[in-house]
Symmetry: C2
Subunit: 134 residues, 2 copies
DNA sequence: AAGCCTAATGAGATTCGTTATCAATAATTC
DNA sequence: GAATTATTGATAACGAATCTCATTAGGCTT
């Protein structure tokens, strides 16, 4: 049976408090800094559970570590992420879902997963990077 | 100044001989099995160089390791990858390209990059994994 | 409230991919 | 051929993530 512990809740809340994607390590250390005695292994477990339950999205950062972010549960979606400030927008992509499924089936592949993320500069960071073109 | 060594050439060739994405580790061990005394660190360095020069594509596998594959430089494409045997099919995705661009613009994002990869089990591995459902 | 069962925790050890170190080697230039 | 110096490679170091297992505590029953 699944149990509710203050640790799970602390991780869920810490995730929700954060705007963009965070690593398990940094989430753990910010919890510790905030005075929580939560253990690192527990943070990893809680994040993995949240990801399975659909309450968190996860992606692999460039250097291979897993990053997590709170998300609206129950809905499969992808992300538009500012590579400067980390601002993240959730995007729906039914067309992409169908495309991924069909392209997999077309080549005889089963159990298709897909990784679809768009990185860019958000409006604010675009202006900051090139003020001449607002 | 950059120097040409047989080790770089061996890595480039081993990559080209391979059908799908390979990890640095497995590439190294197959080179060793083939009789080459090449070192592991050198394989990592050669692969990183090839990726920077555009002669290899790299991606992060589900479990966090970097996988590499030879590719024709200057051409943008995506991949359909068997997560069991590594078999890779290059896929065209003009529709996805346009979708990524438009969704980025729609939210005020500029300079859009995107990560689009589909993982699954290829026909052969699907049968091997579940022979009852060929 | 007390007790039981067992899921969950957490400190530390462990695994494993990748990178850094640094003396030795060898590719290029002169 | 000698000099220069990029490159190599064995090994150490690093870091993210997982595992171990004794301990803790959540939720149920009585």
């Amino acid at each position: 049976m699944k149990r509710n512990t203050w640790q799970r809740e602390a991780v869920r809340q810490a995730l929700g408090d954060n705007e963009g994607f965070v690593s398990a390590q940094s989430l753990h250390s910010s919890l510790r800094v905030a005075g929580s005695p939560i253990g690192l292994a527990t943070v990893y477990r809680a994040l993995a559970d949240l990801a399975v339950e659909g309450e968190a999205d996860s992606l692999q950062s460039i250097d291979g570590e897993s990053l997590y972010r709170a998300c609206t549960p129950g809905q499969h979606h992808h992300h538009l992420i500012c590579r400067n400030c980390g601002l993240t927008v959730e995007i729906e992509a039914d067309a992409v879902e169908r495309w991924a499924k069909s392209v997999a089936a077309e080549h005889g592949f089963t159990q298709p997963n897909h990784v679809v993320d768009v990185f860019g500069l958000c409006a604010a960071c675009s202006v900051a990077a090139d003020p001449s073109r607002p």
